[in-house]
């Protein structure tokens, strides 16, 4: 059994109008299958990347793996535990939450604008009761800031005083605060410039090595994925159409959709 097992994962969304409106206008129910029977495994310490066009269901999968969206059917089993297991008691639930953290796409919306950086990073430490003593909490926050390349001076600042790349670093520090084993990165660099993107991707790689983290890495940029992933899953309209290692995927793509995606990537060397 792998570290993370995604088994027959399916999620439907009900897009229909309220029943009153349907009764009056005679419309049928409209159900969208956002994720359709997706299976994949992730080994500990590895990076699994999901790629696909907008609306292909990448974020929906990420949310289900993170335990904040309930699957319609199928399961996500992390280290032989399941977020949606009714028998899971409170302590194991908390332990599971602590283990899985997330880094988001928008550097602007992912940090509460009214909170200071210190409190943002300290929140998971407090919520999981990892460190009780306030002084030790402070020291831990500084340590986390330094791990992502920021410094003690930044503790008292507000998010708007930072650039996009720095904010992503703060997001990463917050995710690291609960000492997780898995970090789900949902397009962490899509809104960053190339130079800043390189900094953030390298940081993620260093952290993976130092803390043997497991990543579920989501992006629509195949070039970014090629530098990050051990395994790649290609999603199309909620279905996993191809799964391969970077070498196989980029050198011998099997599915037409993958070939189309590859052909569309603007490449520096093509010129």
């Amino acid at each position: 059994m792998s570290f993370i097992n995604v088994d027959q994962l399916t999620r439907l969304f009900d897009l229909s109008e309220p029943w009153i409106v349907r009764a009056i206008t005679g419309q049928k129910k409209r159900i969208l299958t956002a994720v359709d029977c997706v299976n994949f495994q992730i080994e500990k310490g590895e990076t699994y990347a999901l790629v696909g066009e907008s609306g292909s269901g990448k974020s929906t999968i990420a949310k289900m793996v993170a335990g904040i969206l309930v699957p319609t059917s199928g399961s996500v089993i992390i280290d032989s535990k399941d977020f949606n297991d009714a028998k899971l008691d409170k302590t194991s639930m908390n332990a599971l939450r602590r283990k899985t953290q997330m880094v988001f796409q928008s550097p602007y919306a992912s940090l509460n604008p009214r909170w200071k950086i210190g409190s943002i990073i300290n929140e998971p430490i407090k919520a999981f009761g990892l460190i009780e003593n306030e002084n030790s909490q402070h020291i831990r926050v500084i340590e986390l800031l330094e791990q992502v390349g920021l410094s003690e001076r930044d503790i008292g600042k507000y998010p708007h005083e930072f650039s996009g790349g720095q904010r992503q670093r703060i997001s990463i520090a917050r995710a690291l605060a609960s000492e997780p084993e898995i970090i789900i990165c949902d397009e962490p660099t899509s809104s960053l410039d190339v130079s800043v993107q390189a900094q953030v991707l390298n940081l993620l790689k260093d952290l993976q090595k130092n803390f043997s983290l497991t990543y579920l890495f989501i992006s629509h940029d195949l070039a970014v994925i090629s530098t990050m992933a051990n395994n790649i899953g290609v999603l199309k309209e909620g279905v996993l159409v191809e799964e391969a290692t970077p070498k196989d995927l980029f050198c011998k793509p099997q599915h037409d959709y993958t070939k189309m995606l590859l052909a569309a990537v603007p490449n520096l060397q093509n010129n």
Partner: protein, 301 residues
């Protein structure tokens, strides 16, 4: 504090004459109401200091019986109008402030809950708000006032009249707060920092109070300012209609009603001075509120 003086907000304030004038007027009026007992020459609420012989003395003229003279004249019972206005302001401002506070707490709370929880709770709260909005708020206030008076036993009716007034005005003004807060909550709850809070296992109350509430409050200040003016006018209207505070402790509205009785018999000052005070107060609060809205919310311009 130093940050405030260097902020853009303070800079804009210093370059907006309307804002400065209205702000100073508001502060002056509030200060004179707070320190009414030090400024006012007499205490109009103390029956022993009244002399009926002083009744209907015009402004700045000497009363022919007692030889006393009054800055703004006296009313029918010989109360010094200047003092009465200062003390009346106290009541008007107090009622207004408390009513706004009540409306704000209620509106913010209900808006936050409606926006965050959604579903049928949201429908119930907002449909109720819609229905209430179809009636003029003064009518709602009068309705609540009437019901409350009917419920209360007669012994306490008199003491409770100010509390009843505050509650009825407060309950009639919560809707704009709730609507705005609900709108911002709907936007905020989709943001990723809320998801991050869910990821560390915070419950709904914690997310609402710690994360969303601080981010939906900024428009509330603006609405509070504008509602404050509305509440003061509502109080004046209710008192003018005779359903507000008792005449022994007159507010601005009560004074205007009293003055109205004497307008056509030539004692114009009894109406004019309280009316001017009310106008100046409501107008400056409104102007300041408008400026505040434009400054804090450049998109609305």
């Amino acid at each position: 504090m130093e940050r405030f003086f260097r902020s853009d907000f303070f800079y804009h304030f210093c370059h907006a004459p309307v804002a400065i004038v209205s702000f100073i007027t508001i502060i002056l009026i509030i200060l004179s109401a707070i320190f009414a007992n030090l400024i006012a020459p007499t205490n109009p609420f103390d029956p022993s200091s009244l002399n009926l012989m002083n009744g209907f003395t015009p402004p700045l003229e000497t009363n022919e019986f007692t030889g006393e003279s009054f800055l703004l004249g006296t009313d029918d019972q010989g109360r010094d109008l200047f003092s009465t206005i200062l003390y009346g302001l106290r009541i008007s401002l107090f009622v207004g402030l408390m009513a706004v506070f009540l409306a704000m707490v209620m509106g913010v709370l209900l808006g936050l809950i409606a926006g965050f929880l959604g579903g049928w709770i949201d429908s119930i709260i907002m449909r109720f708000a819609d229905i209430q909005m179809t009636f003029p708020s003064i009518l709602v206030a009068m309705l609540i006032y009437g019901v409350a008076r009917g419920i209360l036993p007669p012994e306490v009716r008199y003491e409770m009249s100010i509390v009843v007034l505050i509650i009825s005005i407060g309950l009639s003004e919560w809707v704009p707060f709730a609507r705005t807060v609900r709108g911002s909550t709907l936007v905020e709850k989709e943001k990723e920092y809320v998801t991050a809070a869910k990821m560390i296992g915070l419950n709904r109350q914690q997310i609402m109070v710690r994360h969303i509430l601080p981010n939906v409050l900024s428009p509330v200040l603006v609405i509070a300012t504008i509602t404050f003016a509305l509440a003061i006018i509502a109080e004046a209207t209710l008192s003018f209609l005779g359903v507000g505070v008792p005449t022994t402790k007159p507010s601005l509205g009560t004074l205007i009603r009293i003055g109205q009785d004497f307008l056509f018999s030539g004692e114009w000052w009894i109406l004019l001075f309280p009316a001017i005070t009310l106008l100046a107060l409501a107008l400056s609060i409104n102007l300041f509120g408008d400026w505040l809205r434009d400054t804090l919310n450049p998109k609305l311009k």
